[in-house]
């Protein structure tokens, strides 16, 4: 019953503020040290890691807080990317507004998929979202992503010049864009954390403990789950927008159903119960393959690692790597405390 003890423990008022300051300081350091130390290849890899970390944090929130299995998150990333590209070419709005619109549009799609299946059992959401991932992979393959052409689909054909979406003014270069992505990712993580710590988060915790119990204590479970799905779809859509501006174009090959399953696997391996797990998941899904690539391991074997890791995480290590790290930190703290006392 760890969740209960956490809820009851008193928090002094300055602790969250100090935590936020600490995170901001860490981000500033990472944002300037990483581009200075690593090569362009690695900076780009870390940029996509940060983008996928947003998607991972969403999957983790749904699974860890509510026990919802959503296997279509990469399709939602694709939806966010599609909206950003299409509106980017069509309207020329400032990039932050594009990101917000991408989040809002993705939110609508995510909720539309969620409404019918959420009323049924948890397995139905998993199945419907897996099919959603499959269906959207087909649609993306058939239509392609907008590349500056006309019409609803925005596809340039024949002699029409293909365009790439421009990066935001704040982050033109690779280092700058890395910092930009870090900032947006921090905002998205903050949005999720805020939800977890306030009323919706408490409702989610009640649902996770017992759906019948939550219902009995006056929680509208369906609405509460839908709200979670809406928030996560929004952040995932924003991640799609960031990915679209990263290279300026998107490749349908990166939005297959297997990618969504891999995303779910890395979240469970990283740890679904904390936002740190999202960060680890992002690194696992993007930076880890780059690392294996550099030491010359066949890319397909990563799937084997992720598959075995997923089975392991589901059956015996539900807290994932993040849980083990936090357990280690708690252990160190206890030991240090014991030393000070004694």
């Amino acid at each position: 019953m760890t969740t209960l003890t956490v809820a009851v423990r008193r928090r002094s008022a300055w602790r969250p503020a100090a935590g936020v300051l600490g995170v901001v300081a860490l981000l500033v350091i990472v944002g300037f040290v990483v581009p200075a130390v690593f090569s362009v290849f690695w900076v780009r890899s870390f940029t996509t890691s940060a983008i996928y970390a947003i998607a991972c944090a969403g999957v983790g929130l749904l699974y860890g807080r509510l026990g919802l299995v959503s296997l279509g998150q990469i399709a939602l990333v694709g939806v966010g990317g599609w909206i950003t590209l299409r509106l980017g070419y069509g309207t020329g709005l400032p990039y932050p507004i594009l990101l917000l619109l991408a989040g809002a549009g993705t939110c609508v799609i995510g909720v539309m998929v969620g409404i019918p299946s959420l009323r049924l059992s948890g397995l139905n959401l998993a199945i419907v979202t897996l099919m959603f991932a499959g269906a959207f992979a087909i649609v993306f393959n058939a239509t392609g992503f907008p590349n500056g052409g006309g019409g609803f689909l925005g596809r340039a054909t024949g002699s029409v010049q293909r365009l790439a979406l421009e990066r935001p003014t704040l982050g033109r270069g690779d280092g700058g864009y890395f910092r930009y992505v870090l900032m947006v990712a921090a905002l998205m993580f903050g949005l999720l954390a805020l939800h977890v710590r306030s009323r919706p988060g408490r409702q989610w915790a009640a649902i996770r403990q017992s759906e019948a119990g939550a219902l009995a204590s006056g929680v509208d479970t369906t609405r509460s789950k839908l709200w979670a799905l809406a928030v996560v779809s929004f952040t995932t859509g924003v991640a799609g927008g960031l990915l679209a501006a990263n290279a300026g174009v998107l490749d349908p090959g990166n939005f297959g159903a297997s990618e969504s399953i891999v995303l779910f696997a890395v979240v469970l391996i990283g740890g679904a119960f904390s936002l740190l797990g999202g960060v680890l998941g992002g690194l696992l899904s993007q930076a880890f393959p780059s690392l294996l690539d550099e030491i010359g391991v066949n890319g397909n074997l990563i799937l084997l690692v992720f598959g075995v890791g997923l089975v392991h995480a589901v059956s015996t290590a539900p807290q994932g790597i993040a849980g083990q790290l936090q357990g280690l930190a708690a252990l160190v703290r206890r030991r240090v405390g014991a030393l000070e006392d004694g």
């Binding site: 026990g67 299995v69 296997l71 019918p116 299946s117 009323r119 049924l120 059992s121 948890g122 397995l123 139905n124 998993a126 199945i127 419907v128 897996l130 099919m131 959603f132 499959g134 269906a135 087909i138 649609v139 393959n141 058939a142 017992s210 759906e211 019948a212 119990g213 219902l215 479970t221 369906t222 297959g256 159903a257 297997s258 399953i261 891999v262 779910f264 696997a265 469970l268 066949n298 397909n300 074997l301 990563i302 799937l303 084997l304 690692v305 992720f306 598959g307 075995v308 890791g309 997923l310 089975v311 392991h312 589901v314 059956s315 015996t316």
Partner: protein, 288 residues
Amino acid sequence: MLKPFIVTGLAVGSLYALSGLGMLVLYRTTGVLNLAYGALGAMAALISWELIQQGTEQWPSYAVGVGAATAASLCYGGLLGPYLAERESVVKATASLGFALAILGVLNWYWTDDTRTLTLPTDTSGFDVVDVRVSTTQLIALALAVVVAVGTSVYLRASGTGTEMRALADDRELTSMLGVRVRRVEALAWGVSGALAGVSGLLLADLTQLTANSLTFLVIPALAACVVGRFRSLGWTLFGGLLVGVLEAVGTPYDWIADYRSAAPFVVAIVVVLYLQRHKTVTIGAAR
């Protein structure tokens, strides 16, 4: 004009149904929705292909392929089944995704993602219905799906093991207390469903295409078939598979929909799920 497409659709659809039935038998017995089902089929098809390339006779190669899928299914079920037996069905399904990823990784690593062709000896023979050619493979697919659907229904209802399987689906612990050898019945279910996965993988590789990725994700139409059967009815699952197959195929001659027709399973599943929740009942997971 649509007739040939309906025939192809029925043939492929019956394989979706066959996969759906194999998944359903396992689900109804152990509560595991095996999402690695398509991956097992891909494994059977690729192993058979490899053996044939190396000069092995055709039928022994197919037997080895199907045997490998059965063995892999048994291994997974035997090792992880007891571990996860008390968890929610969605957790069990999630774990099988890991199994699917692991198989897919190995297949893509060993065989790369090139498209191959697997030709069964039954492709060359066939007969004409009115003016449409039907190959023996297509006939086998349809017949197999119907036979498995009817056979399993009768088996579950009439035989001793069938009764044990149904009891197991209701309450694993209670069944074991009644003296049923739970592990053995579960192993039977995993084995049978693995063999069915292998057979449908082989036939699908012949009728559609042989790549690890496409065969792995043929679990999606099979799932749609299960959704139509509401994870209970074998008859409706058969119908669901055929429906998805035919819907997919009849879109082929129309340009505006041809590219999107593979999304048929998703559309079918969403429509059925919407229909199922029309009474606005909220299903609540058991409070533990």
